[in-house]
Symmetry: C2
Subunit: 196 residues, 2 copies
């Protein structure tokens, strides 16, 4: 295309554009043509950077998954009483969601039609499972209520946390708002909405 | 089409098929051709029942909205202390979500590209606002914590409740499971996950 911008993309900056388009149109609904138009470069220029749209998806969801799994290796998640670790992981999950919003949004919308999507779903389930195990340990310690099914509680906790990608839009004030949001999620999830 | 089934649909049964297809392909991604194939009747037979796909969407989301707004008129939602009314509305919202699962799923996925979608979003916001007002009243009574922003709490509550459409799949045992689920959501939302 003669009207195309000169290709000044790196695989990294191209990813930013691709993730935006995937989130707007859905991964299934996005063609290489859509990506080419959004990036303002030819399809062959895109192929210069990546093998195709599935590679862009894999890079994008990997970034979200690396952020989430990274949490589980942090000392707040590995040391101390299970209840403290669960609260830490919940707080950090909110922070990663906000920091990597478009990437986590894409991860949470993945449906499972391609190999990469199924792999992403599998990794998500693994993360949920790891957090579920922490919840189980906290119940065993007597710190979390035992009258609720753990799998159900894990799903509802993630339902609350993951809903952020649907309505959270960053404000210019940034940091303070982010901390407050993470605090609120942890407080509501663990102590509930009732007055103490 | 000579291979098409004889049209034995009513607007009601056609709606069931349309909602399934909308939820699978997304409303934007569904054409009259897709609906015709899924229903096994010609497009002109579909036009015999409804003016087009937007009418099907309107009927479908109306069914979900009628279910939700119906809750607000029930005596459990209009009489007694605000905290009791909030808990009642939360429990009944879970029940309506389960009873009208495909319809509420569609409602929650609506994006706002057409007049009907924008109307549906507006009505959803209205419902959330009504529940938010109840939460506010319960805070004023001193029954719900006042250290959390009400709009944020409302969003997180609905985030938890609405996540059901993503993972809940009805089991044959039906009723008991439904009651248990509604109980669990109310308990976690209001009392939190911590042991009492």
């Amino acid at each position: 295309m003669t009207t195309a911008k000169r290709d000044t993309y790196t695989p990294e900056t191209l990813l930013t554009v691709a993730v935006r388009v995937f989130n707007e149109r859905g991964y299934d609904g996005t063609s290489m043509e859509h990506l080419s138009k959004a990036a303002g470069i030819s399809k062959s220029s895109i192929y210069h950077h990546v093998a195709g749209k599935e590679e862009l998806l894999r890079r994008a969801v990997s970034r979200a998954l690396d952020g989430l799994f990274g949490i589980l290796g942090e000392s707040g998640a590995t040391r101390g009483r299970a209840i403290g670790r669960v609260e830490y992981v919940t707080r950090r999950t909110v922070e990663v969601l906000i920091a990597e919003l478009p990437y986590v949004t894409l991860l949470l919308r993945v449906r499972g039609n391609t190999k990469t999507e199924r792999w992403a779903l599998e990794r998500r389930r693994e993360f949920d499972q790891r957090v579920g195990d922490l919840l189980k340990a906290a119940v065993a310690d007597g710190d979390l209520r035992s009258d609720v099914d753990i799998r159900l509680a894990t799903r509802l906790l993630f339902g609350m946390v993951n809903s952020l990608v649907e309505w959270y839009r960053p404000l210019p004030d940034g940091g303070a708002e982010r901390d407050q949001l993470a605090d609120t999620v942890v407080r509501l999830a663990f102590d509930g909405m009732k007055a103490g």
